[in-house]
């Protein structure tokens, strides 16, 4: 189980070396974005894959983290020791406060109400006239750390993002097998049983929701620095939808599936958009096929293929 995630992280770590032979900045940029969205996708997989809480407003957490950095930067505060905690706290607080309301609902209602809060954040950002409103806000300087500028060096920044991704992955991995994670997973299995055991599952779900928001905030902090720009589009419901597609594509409830899904989604989109302008005409049906044919996403598909392969090559029974 640990081999695949290790291979993924190793691949990310070796990419800059391979990229040196080609169009380095383009590839670094692309994979950095993949890793940044993977962090947010990990947080979403925590909710959807382990808690059956389909949050449809997840892009808001990224956007809030990104805006926190950009707004501070527009006031001349570039120090990451200030802007990173602010981004994390803002996203976590937003998740916590909206979670107190969202988590009183279930199923489709939960999806709709998280979507509503996501849209609220979107329209709030659009109406922030002093900070660019609809047009977004350009960051004239990237964050600094202890007065140094690690985010200006593309390669160093790349490895910082990788370190963040590995850290978040380990955190989530630890979370789902911990006592907390066991209660959280139990709530998905049978909420009534959990209540009669003495667990007030609402408190556990709220904590998970806030943690997931924090991961989104971290992704937002990194994204703002990677793009030197924030805009309300970061919080659009399409972005939230993309995140859900990513984790389903990779395989729900596996954590590394979230990373694989984000990678596959981004690379496929990148490749297809190079082929034709109407690439979503191909992309859409492809996604439908994956969901229909491969329950458990790409990871599930790989598992099925492996099982089939073993069956074909098994020693004939005497």
């Amino acid at each position: 189980m640990t081999r695949l995630p290790t291979a993924i992280f190793l691949g990310f770590a070796l990419l800059p070396a391979a990229a040196a032979f080609g169009t380095e900045t383009y590839l670094l940029d692309l994979f950095m974005r993949v890793m940044i969205f993977s962090i947010a996708a990990l947080g979403l997989d925590l909710l959807v894959g382990y808690g059956a809480l389909v949050s449809f407003g997840h892009a808001a957490f990224i956007g809030i983290g990104a805006y926190a950095v950009a707004i501070l930067a527009s006031h001349g505060i570039n120090e990451a020791l200030i802007s990173l905690p602010v981004a994390l706290i803002a996203a976590t607080a937003f998740a916590y406060l909206t979670g107190t309301i969202c988590l009183r609902t279930r199923g489709v209602y939960f999806i709709m109400i998280t979507l509503a809060f996501g849209q609220m954040a979107f329209f709030l950002a659009s109406s922030l006239a002093p900070y660019g409103g609809d047009d977004g806000l350009t960051m004239h300087a990237r964050s600094t750390l202890f007065g140094l500028s690690p985010f200006k060096n593309e390669r160093l920044f790349y490895y910082i993002v990788l370190a963040c991704l590995i850290g978040c992955y380990c955190l989530c991995r630890s979370l789902v097998v911990s006592r907390f994670g066991r209660v959280f997973r139990g709530a998905r299995e049978n909420a009534t049983r959990m209540a009669t055991l003495g667990f007030d599952i609402y408190r556990y779900q709220l904590a998970a929701y806030a943690i997931s928001g924090a991961l989104g905030g971290l992704a937002g902090f990194l994204l703002a620095n990677a793009t030197d720009f924030v805009s309300p589009a970061y919080m659009s419901w399409q972005r939230s939808g993309e995140l859900i597609i990513m984790i389903i594509l990779g395989g729900l409830g596996t954590l590394h599936g979230a990373i694989i899904g984000t990678l596959a989604y981004s690379l496929l989109g990148e490749y297809l958009s190079g082929l034709t302008e109407n690439w979503k005409m191909i992309f859409g049906p492809l996604l439908v096929l994956v969901v229909l044919l491969a329950r458990g996403g790409l990871l599930g598909l790989a598992g099925q293929v492996a099982a089939w392969w073993r069956k074909q090559h098994a020693e004939p029974q005497p």
Binding site: L175, F180, R185, L197
Partner: protein
């Protein structure tokens, strides 16, 4: 005589125009196994649901260990020591049998807001869980997925979960429901061993089990307690025979 573990005072519940619980007054004494019997639709499960907190009564009070718990939530009541099993098996199918029980132990000891460390490797949780599984004869199936257990094993697992909570009162809603003859016999043996260790409120259809196990029996009919008494007294009560037992006893 110590105070009763559970007291129901003037409990009423209507579903629409249907009175499913009508002015129920009743007690479970410390250490006794109290059975509630009654025909289908008499309101037995609704009564249990009001005790465990899943259904709120329209009026009346539920006192648990002399404390009014009518306004408390399900998890709050469980934390006070009220454990229950369900008529329709209620387990975590995607968890292993031992994890199902270990969760009950986890609810009882220590905090569950612990984000690090593998819960499945904690012997403080696993040892009591294994003991509870042993009690119901499921030791060999500890690592099997709960969803893959046979029906009888699932019933036994529900019992183990309730046991691991080390409850002050055990509410058992038809623990034998759907179990085969042999399974029933095994469950009766388990229950008779538990008897005396915890006060038990047993709702059951299986009359053999009820008369073999119960210290006292209450008969519920159309939401009302018809009579309460020892098994012998209940068996001899002409009202009960006419209303309910007549068809089942020879």
């Amino acid at each position: 005589m110590t105070a009763p573990v559970l007291q129901l005072e003037g409990l009423n519940k209507n579903f629409g125009g249907l009175a499913v619980t009508r002015n129920v007054n009743f007690e479970v004494a410390a250490g006794e196994l109290h059975a509630v019997i009654g025909p289908n639709g008499a309101g037995k499960t609704t009564l249990i649901n009001q005790i465990s907190g899943l259904v709120a009564p329209d009026s009346g009070r539920v006192l648990f260990a002399s404390r009014d718990v009518t306004a408390l939530s399900v998890p709050e009541r469980a934390a006070l020591g009220l454990a229950r099993s369900f008529q329709i098996t209620s387990i975590l199918p995607g968890f292993s049998a031992i994890e199902n029980v270990a969760l009950a132990v986890q609810a009882r000891i220590g905090t569950s807001f612990r984000f690090f460390g593998c819960a499945a490797a904690e012997s403080a949780l696993n040892a009591p869980a294994l003991a509870a599984l042993d009690e119901v004869g499921l030791t060999k199936r500890a690592d099997a997925l709960a969803g893959h257990l046979s029906h009888g094993e699932k019933r036994a697992l529900e019992l183990a979960i309730a046991l691991a909570m080390q409850p002050k009162l055990l509410l058992l809603d038809e623990p034998m429901a759907g179990a085969g003859r042999d399974e029933s016999r095994r469950l009766i043996a388990v229950l008779s061993r538990l008897k005396g260790r915890f006060p038990i409120l047993l709702v059951e259809h299986d009359m053999t089990a009820v008369f073999a196990l119960a210290d006292r029996i209450s008969v519920l009919l159309y939401g009302q307690i018809l009579t309460s008494g020892t098994p012998d007294a209940v068996r001899a009560d002409p009202q009960v025979v006419a209303a309910y037992l007549g068809e089942e006893m020879e």
